[in-house]
């Protein structure tokens, strides 16, 4: 089953803030950790989600 959701910019920004708060990192700090391959555990999945959010927001 495919479930389609037309997300809003506000929803994506709120989710981004939630993910960053979970790890206590800014987006730049998270990106730097990813660039240096220094992510651990859940950070990997959450970084992927942050990149998906950036794609939808055209921030990529």
């Amino acid at each position: 089953m495919t479930r389609v959701t037309n997300v809003t910019e506000a929803q994506l920004l709120a989710r981004r803030d939630e993910l960053l708060a979970k790890h206590g990192l800014s987006l730049d700090e998270f990106a730097e950790r990813a660039r240096m391959y220094a992510l651990v555990g859940d950070e990997w999945a959450d970084w992927d989600e942050l990149q998906s959010i950036a794609y939808l927001l055209r921030d990529d």
Partner: protein, 226 residues
């Protein structure tokens, strides 16, 4: 196709259904595929799948496609795809099979292996690599946009090489999906090099006539892309 709802139902939903059906037919579990979209961009993502060996969940399989419309706004074009296998033990990736249409500093289609190898780290250190201890920093090239592996190839690798559980008839579904993918990619490759395609067809006995305006140019950039 200008109505976004029509476009969604004609292209995006069948694409999601195809991925969901493949995973269900291979692994036997129903899989919901979520599509999030905003202003003509789509993220197509099946629910994370727990991969089992002997019935015990040991790894996760995460697949994601980031898509947009092609220039004619008719078909979905994949900007990026990821097939990621992670260990449930530490929630970190083990393999990542990725395609990034706009990649510049790495191969368009590549595999990243998350592992450690002392000799490789030594070599990368000598080469002044920025992250010599991270094998995943290396992007192993796998054929570019046209000849990259499909999801079915990765699934077969996981079942046949790694030993993950699957339904008894998994191979039939993998083979059918791979054939669909390769036929689609052959068509795309022909558009990249139409003169070569015409030559081969003539060699096979077909009569091929050039368009009145001359042969369409080869897509040199695509043929040369890393």
């Amino acid at each position: 196709m200008t109505d976004p709802d029509d476009a969604l139902h004609a292209e995006v939903v069948p694409f999601g259904d195809e991925i969901g059906d493949l995973l269900r037919n291979v692994f036997g579990e129903p899989v919901t595929v979520d599509v999030q979209w905003l202003r003509g961009r789509f993220v197509v993502k099946p629910a994370s799948l727990a991969m089992t060996i002997g019935g015990e969940a040991l790894a996760s399989l995460d697949i994601e496609f980031r898509c947009t419309w092609d220039s004619a706004h008719t078909y979905l074009a994949v900007d990026k795809s990821t097939v990621k296998v992670g260990a449930l033990l530490d929630r970190a990736p083990i393999f990542r099979f990725e395609y990034d249409r706009e990649a510049h500093s790495k191969p368009t289609a590549h595999i990243q292996v998350h592992g450690h190898r002392g000799a490789l780290s030594h070599l990368l250190s000598r080469a002044r690599h920025e992250t010599p201890h991270s094998m995943e920093a290396l992007h192993l090239p796998v054929g570019g946009a046209r000849f990259r592996p499909c999801v079915e190839d990765v699934l077969q690798f996981l079942i046949q090489d790694c030993g993950f559980d699957a339904r008894s008839d998994w191979k039939n579904h993998i083979a059918a999906g791979r054939e669909r993918w390769r036929r689609y990619q052959v068509r795309a490759a022909v558009r990249d090099a139409p003169t070569d395609a015409a030559d081969i067809l003539r060699a096979l006995g077909y009569t091929v006539t050039e368009p009145s305006g001359g042969a369409p140019p080869d897509s040199i950039a695509k043929l040369q892309a890393w």
